[in-house]
Symmetry: none
Subunit: 402 residues, 2 copies
């Protein structure tokens, strides 16, 4: 579909705003979902005057990770474009990845006589883990002609990026996880799955040895396990497909990282939604597509905190006036997936969406909720259809065929 | 999609029950459909608290046979996996088919001077038919190096399996039906459609001659007509894709046969729905997926008996308590296709479905009917999405992507 879209794009001065309340969809607890319980007069009014519906990020029944969820929102088929674990981890820790890179998700582990005693080094505290990672970065900057970038993470987790001097071929990161998955086993040998990966595997082996030399005398966290070897996908850029100049406004690194993967501008910002909106206002003139990411809705859902999630939705409802004041031509409010507090995690449930533009019907939904959105004019549809709908409503798509 | 499902399956102790009321969907007569007329307090209550919708087995406007309808329910693309009639018939009559086999659906017919007088030999009684078939099996065990297996069926129907000494090439069963479809015509000559089928066609010709030699002196049932020449497809097993241990509970042979084709346990049982439910209860501990087939709803639809079909639905409604008492984690009640009494046959209309689990909204449909299901949270969707939804609601699917 992106090929067809690319062929009928026309530019104009319209602005499209896509607000992603991470993990927006929920499930009823005592009869009502988080969205149904939350007092959201502004969202409800918007829903009454918008095209509403529910979208399915990957396929019915499939629970999307954040990567697939966002790619689908941006119009990329999340089954075709699968982002590796290492890449997501590195992006989340704020590393800008290049085509020369292999990204790896790493764990500190405890080893004794060649046997993994604890795959997570007793979940060492983040501050201690960070110190070790910083020491490793000091001692290890290069292996042969490959730059090594360490990025501290939470508890026993961190990321490593191997930056080669030249862009890597496809398949170069096809290396087996070294994590044996069960304690009491030796680590899995570094095993390349393709000939292209052999060179990378050599560097990885040297890396493990170099790291061991630095940390092997520690009682715990004296070894590392490596997983999710991956490269950035050769994914077409958002601007090239849609003719839009996009800005990502996201306080959480992983979402900026995902946006950067498809060529969005995603300057580092910190703070809460207020800060994000402030940044959005400052940059509103310079761009014509805005991805505004609101993380906290998902976080409370993941914690199983029904009331907290509802409150975050209410908080956003109060912030909405500022976004409406910018008066974008097309305003979409939705999520990247559902995160029902009941399930304490992402879920497969279709995600409510509202699309405000001068070219919709409205009048079908009384409020903004999962159940009301089933009555909306957009129906239940694959998430990748949302970008074409946004472009159409911005009058940025020419007729297909004569 | 089955590839992706297979990659994210996780096992747990949940139980999934799929009840298939064959030919469930109907059409209005005097303003109301069979489901709308039927008094179904239990189904209606269930619908109010379940995820409801309508599913399309093959594609909009396409009327599915029983094979495609059921394959789609089990998550197999019915366009990709087309099962021959002979195979279905033979499996249903309890023959375990191999890659060396060609299965054929047969009829006893009455022939006079080379002209078919009755294509069904006046629907001779099952016991008489069985005796003839047993006699044929006694007399004919081999044709050349090919084993011949006869399986008695209902009334004039039976099946023959030709078991060749070696696995057959694809296309080996591409032989025209010998049934002329209309009385007053001679039987159609055995005609192979491919070079691979020529050898099989030779054996079939010899078979017809051998059978004639045995039965030609009977007044009726003195000839056989052969249809649906087919080989077993190399279809992946249900258990291998979904990690479920499935039991088919079906009194009608063809549905057991279909289930066996995808590796389900499908022990022979007889009797009505009561007997099926008894069998289900006895085996409930040993399995984690249950396909319960209720045939009669379809039978009355096929007969154009509106009232009879509605009564069969009401009868099932009364039986429902016993199924609910088993308390499966996920309960699906639906059909394999619609069979409106108005059309006296299968139809293309989307099939109503309800899915009960702790992770649904409900509250959108007042009762269980075609029209009410259009308001449900599942929308109108391809039938092959039902299995992923069942697995998701049983919490048997991990997240896709990070």
């Amino acid at each position: 579909m992106q090929d067809i879209i690319k062929g009928i794009i026309q530019k104009n001065n319209s602005k499209i705003m896509m607000v992603v309340l991470d993990g927006l969809g929920g499930l009823p607890v005592h009869g009502k979902s988080e969205l149904e319980v939350a007092d959201t007069p502004n969202l409800d009014m918007l829903a009454r005057n918008s095209a509403c519906g529910l979208h399915i990020p990957v396929s019915p029944g499939i629970t999307p990770g954040s990567g697939p969820g966002h790619l689908a929102l941006f119009g990329y088929n999340p089954i075709e474009w699968q982002i590796g674990r290492g890449v997501l981890e590195a992006l989340g820790l704020g590393i800008d990845l290049k085509k020369t890179d292999v990204a790896i998700r790493c764990n500190y582990a405890t080893i004794e006589k060649g046997i993994i005693k604890d795959r997570r080094a007793e979940r060492i505290p983040t501050d201690k883990s960070k110190k070790i990672t910083e020491r490793l970065q000091e001692k290890i900057r290069k292996i042969d002609d490959v730059d090594v970038i360490f990025a501290p993470g939470m508890e026993h987790r961190f990321a490593v990026v191997l930056r080669f001097p030249k862009p890597l071929e496809k398949g170069s990161a096809d290396i087996k996880d070294t994590d044996p998955q069960k304690e009491g086993n030796p680590p899995v040998a570094v095993t390349p799955g393709t000939t292209q990966a052999e060179k990378v595997a050599e560097v990885v082996e040297k890396l493990i040895k170099a790291v061991s030399a630095v940390i092997r005398d520690q009682k715990k966290a004296n070894f590392i396990l490596l997983r999710g070897f991956s490269q950035v996908p050769h994914i077409p850029h958002f601007a090239d497909i849609y003719g839009l100049n996009p800005l990502a406004v996201a306080a959480y690194p992983m979402y900026r990282g995902l946006a950067k993967l498809i060529g969005m501008d995603a300057p580092a910002i910190t703070g809460d939604v207020q800060e994000e909106i402030k940044f959005l206002k400052q940059n509103y003139k310079k761009y014509d597509f805005f991805f505004l990411h609101v993380k906290k809705v998902d976080s409370y859902g993941e914690d199983g905190n029904f009331k907290g999630k509802a409150e975050q939705i209410e908080r956003f409802d109060r912030d909405l006036a500022q976004i409406l004041a910018l008066d974008p031509d097309v305003l979409i409010i939705t999520g990247d997936h559902s995160t029902p507090s009941l399930l304490k995690g992402h879920s497969w449930h279709p995600v409510p969406v509202l699309l405000k533009s001068p070219y919709v019907f409205g009048g079908l939904c009384k409020s903004f909720s999962e159940r009301e959105c089933t009555k909306g004019e957009l129906g239940i549809f694959p998430t990748i259809n949302l970008m074409p709908l946004a472009l159409a409503n911005a009058l940025r798509l020419k007729k297909f065929g004569a």
